[in-house]
Subunit: 381 residues, 2 copies
């Protein structure tokens, strides 16, 4: 097995993992039923709670972000239950598919991809539809580079007898998330995005209000049953089923790095890098995909100019060893996406913008204005 270790991951996940986090991966495995593991696990959970900014019960699951999305739905939705799914992209849609996979009724509030949901419309939909058990929203739509106003939507949802479920998979640790302040009942995330740990773990927080629903729910399922995770954590500070021990080592170190930098600083860094990237892109004469008001600070989506498609990504990857993402679903071949999250810094942004300029020129695109100069301007302020 030969892995090219010279690739710069500018993806909306997985992101660059710092060496000290990668190193922790190769520590010897310890027994997951040992006191030593319980201490490590509790410490990791407590650090994750600080990043979520919550007092709610928090769990770390061995699985992808989707496993936590599944948990968020399957633990509260029984057959026929109504859920309002705010859909602004691929991951918003996924929540609605999960609701249907558990035979719930998905009420879809669909917004054009690249735009954000309107909190007022959420209010109307909640008023129009009786007995909505939960509202789901994706904070940062990895698929479109657009984000939703999760604080404002939280204020709306608070006045209704419904749960508020938020996917912060590609925002937690990058954009501003405050589970308790935003009134989020269930918040899910993944290890491999802004947390800058390797993929394979998911996080989920559960409020008291959510537990009340979970306790009464006619649950179907086993591996992702939240009640079992709660019981084991309360009794033993462990997971009910064998966890990915080495990934916990890594996540623990990654969370240390986040808390050392400070969440506020981290958000500011993401804002700054996003601004530099987005202004540089526009300076070059490319068009951003996400609407201005909705623009993500962790991922930038860019329309391919006329005559240019995923060949651009191939040149960036093959010639310059920079990996950026393409479009998902109907946006495939129409946009590309640059992730600037986790531990990404100035040098990575500047390298990416510069090489993008070279690749665009190679494909015959006429650069309007130097992207890297604009990025330098923004970053030099």
């Amino acid at each position: 097995m030969k892995i090219n270790t010279n690739k710069l991951l500018m993806l909306p996940g997985p992101t660059i993992v710092p060496p000290e986090v990668l190193n922790a991966m190769s520590f010897p495995v310890i027994g997951h039923r040992s006191k030593e593991f319980s201490e490590l696990f509790e410490d990791t959970v407590e650090k994750l709670k600080k990043v979520f900014i919550t007092e709610n019960d928090t769990f770390i699951i061995t699985g992808s972000g989707t496993s936590a999305m599944d948990m968020a739905i399957s633990n509260i939705v029984s057959k026929g239950d109504k859920v309002l799914n705010i859909i602004t992209g691929n991951f918003g849609e996924r929540f609605s598919k999960i609701v249907e996979a558990y035979k719930g009724e998905s009420i879809k509030y669909e917004v054009e991809w690249g735009d954000m949901a309107d909190p007022k419309r959420v209010k109307e939909l909640l008023e129009e539809n009786e007995e909505i058990k939960a509202v789901t929203v994706v904070h940062n739509e990895t698929s479109t580079g657009a984000k939703n106003l999760i604080e404002e939507i939280g204020k709306v949802v608070k006045d209704f007898n419904t749960l508020y479920i938020v996917d912060t998979v590609s925002s937690l640790g990058g954009d501003y998330v405050n589970v308790d302040k935003f009134n989020i009942d269930i918040c899910v995330t993944g290890s491999q995005k802004c947390l800058a740990a390797p993929p394979g773990l998911a996080g989920i927080t559960v409020s008291e209000k959510a537990w009340e629903v979970i306790e009464k729910n006619d649950k179907v399922g086993f591996y992702l049953d939240l009640k079992t995770y709660k019981k084991y954590y309360e009794e033993k500070r462990q997971n009910p089923y064998t966890p990915a021990v080495n990934l916990i080592y890594a996540l623990n170190v990654a969370l240390d790095l986040i808390l050392e930098e400070g969440i506020e600083n981290r958000v500011k860094r993401h804002e700054r890098l996003a601004r530099a990237t987005q202004e540089a892109i526009m300076a070059m004469g490319l068009e951003l995909f996400a609407k201005e008001k909705a623009r993500s600070i962790t991922v930038t989506s860019i329309k391919y100019p006329e005559g240019i498609d995923d060949k651009l990504r191939e040149i960036l990857n093959k010639k310059y060893n920079i990996v950026v993402a393409g479009g998902q679903k109907h946006l495939s071949g129409k946009i590309f996406r640059i992730g600037h999250m986790g531990v990404c810094g100035e040098k990575e942004i500047l390298a990416t913008i510069s090489c993008l300029e070279l690749a665009l020129k190679e494909l015959g695109f006429e650069i309007k204005e130097s992207g890297v100069e604009r990025a330098l301007e923004v970053l030099g302020k």
Copy 2:
């Protein structure tokens, strides 16, 4: 975070992970939607198929062994479906709980813990009960140190219109498993036992006969939906949801080590080490928990002698840095378990037996005959 790296894991999982496998864990993360990852993933799946000895579709899931047990049941069982669960310990019981978690009807064939199931009784139960959709059995009961005759049970099940589901979590790569020859429709395993990789991945094989049932099944669930895994693997040689990339690196190397050693050799090594351990234990005057005919070759369970309990494990751990397991459920405080699986060799067995002798003496147990001498005799043959 400080991990004591001086512990010898003689657990029935997780087991000792060789340095070359651990090292692979800290390779930089690559994008899970890249061609490079597809190649690595397909290579890993193909190697795992060789270890399962199967031509059946095989999947690697980010989750514990239990996630694959859940998949095995949830993809074939709809509300009210009958499943015959052979229960010879904690993990056999788990299958029955999963059936009930999906609102299936569990028909339980319970055998005293430490013993094995009788294939003739399985036949009778299949004849007595109509419309049994599947039979589940655990090959090697980690909880009791006893194993089941999965080849013989497979011959019985073959004559009925039912699926054969086998848990080889603590046997694959250690004891003899041949999915195709044994007529196994769905076979599940975990990364952290005899495969000697770190925890966090599970494997599952699916026969044509099983697919026919899965296609028709009124499936509930999302993250563990086998059809989605099949679709993604066929189209892209990828997982539908972000996999634990670094664990795939490690599993790939661990599988290389298994195929280099050769499965037959590996089984013989396990047999030899089990014999040495078990004869040494008996020589010392301790009693094995599992019935002779049912004895596992990957884990040895031992009754605590009068007046001795988990203090023994504590001495082994604290004083000698050797970690062995206690009993589960009603066997807690009554037995202890030594895992000798994966890459475990002579030196680990001899160190464990020797230190066990010291710990027993410290607790006032009168050693009948030298355990380490008996082990040396067996290993010297």
